[in-house]
Symmetry: C2
């Protein structure tokens, strides 16, 4: 039986692949693991049935037999531990790749989410225009540091890993902001991720959900 992933019945990003199921779809495609998708509405996500899978009422969740997981990072690590293709086999290189998974989710993503959230939730507030440069600057500090570390390398640490997969999906959240234009090496890095056949299959599949729902 295939593992079951939950995803938005109607993604608020209109099929741009920014919802967190995209990361898990991409990981599953990288390792060649077929999966089924269960779509949930915003109302269903907050009901007890979905909360039994995901205590914070979000997507994605991942069901594999008796096991139910939530948190895209944990799901991808679980997949990466069970299939070759997302983590190096050498122990130290593997630990460093996992470090990049946490860095993407815990150091780079939070200021990006805040920057994006404010433009949705606080656009009509008197302070919006004044605060945005501060939020943007917090994002730019992280991008400066990330670009410095990446240098002219193809991926963050040797071969493509789950760390790159998460970092690319995190950086893509900035697509509409214009901020990435100052970072050509990060744009090229994102493009390398998006060019992977597994990414493209995952993107097409999540887009089809949006297209079919319209």
């Amino acid at each position: 039986m295939n593992p079951i992933l939950t995803a938005f019945a109607r993604s608020p990003d209109r099929g741009r692949g920014l919802a967190r199921d995209m990361r898990v779809r991409w990981a599953l495609e990288e390792v060649g693991q077929p999966y089924d998708v269960q779509l949930v509405s915003f109302a269903e996500m907050k009901q007890p049935e979905h909360r039994s899978r995901h205590p914070f009422g979000q997507i994605p969740t991942y069901q594999e037999g008796d096991l139910t997981l939530f948190e895209s990072g944990a799901i991808i690590l679980h997949i990466a531990e069970r299939h070759p293709g997302l983590l190096p086999t050498e122990a130290n290189a593997r630990a460093r790749a996992i470090t990049w998974m946490f860095a993407a989710l815990n150091t780079v993503e939070p200021p990006i989410v805040e920057f994006g959230l404010a433009s949705i939730l606080e656009r009509d507030k008197s302070w919006y225009e004044t605060r945005q440069p501060m939020l943007e600057s917090r994002v730019r500090v992280r991008l400066d540091e990330l670009a410095l570390r990446l240098g002219d390398a193809e991926w963050l640490d040797g071969a493509f890993s789950a760390g790159d997969l998460l970092m690319v999906t995190v950086l893509r959240r900035l697509d509409a902001s214009g901020v990435l234009q100052s970072y050509p090496s990060l744009c090229a890095y994102i493009k390398r991720g998006e060019a992977r056949p597994a990414y493209q299959r995952a993107f097409a599949d999540q887009l089809a959900v949006f297209t079919n729902a319209v």
Copy 2:
């Protein structure tokens, strides 16, 4: 040779154990692994030498022979994989404990950090008083959900795990906010964590750094 952890030479929390080295110290104490500490100043953290260990110029980092890691979550997972005591041995229970590690860092911590950051960085702004209830309410949404899931259990999923270790340290960041008073079960959960002998040894060690620096 012992692994080497970096920590603040002068912690801005004045020894309250809120800096992220505390989490790693606690994990190392839980598994009985001795370690050495290298203190770094704020200026040193941003220099190339430290950035070679931590691209984002923060603490903690963890050096073990040839291996250098950053990100407290990744370091703790590394320790938990190499020593018994922080993750269940049964595969599904282990995956669920790792899910709680990601949930602590990626779902519960970000709104708590934002709530705390605003009270430091934006206290003098005209919008501060108006925005704080919104930030507090984002924190309360997560605490409501966490308390609902925890129920009257001792730990989040069976025995104490690295997921609880991270969740307790994340929740402790709210100590000074008064928000936790509405959540007696979460306060009791934090106290259970703080009562562990490994926590107490780690706390004393990080406090000694602050006391000696004064």
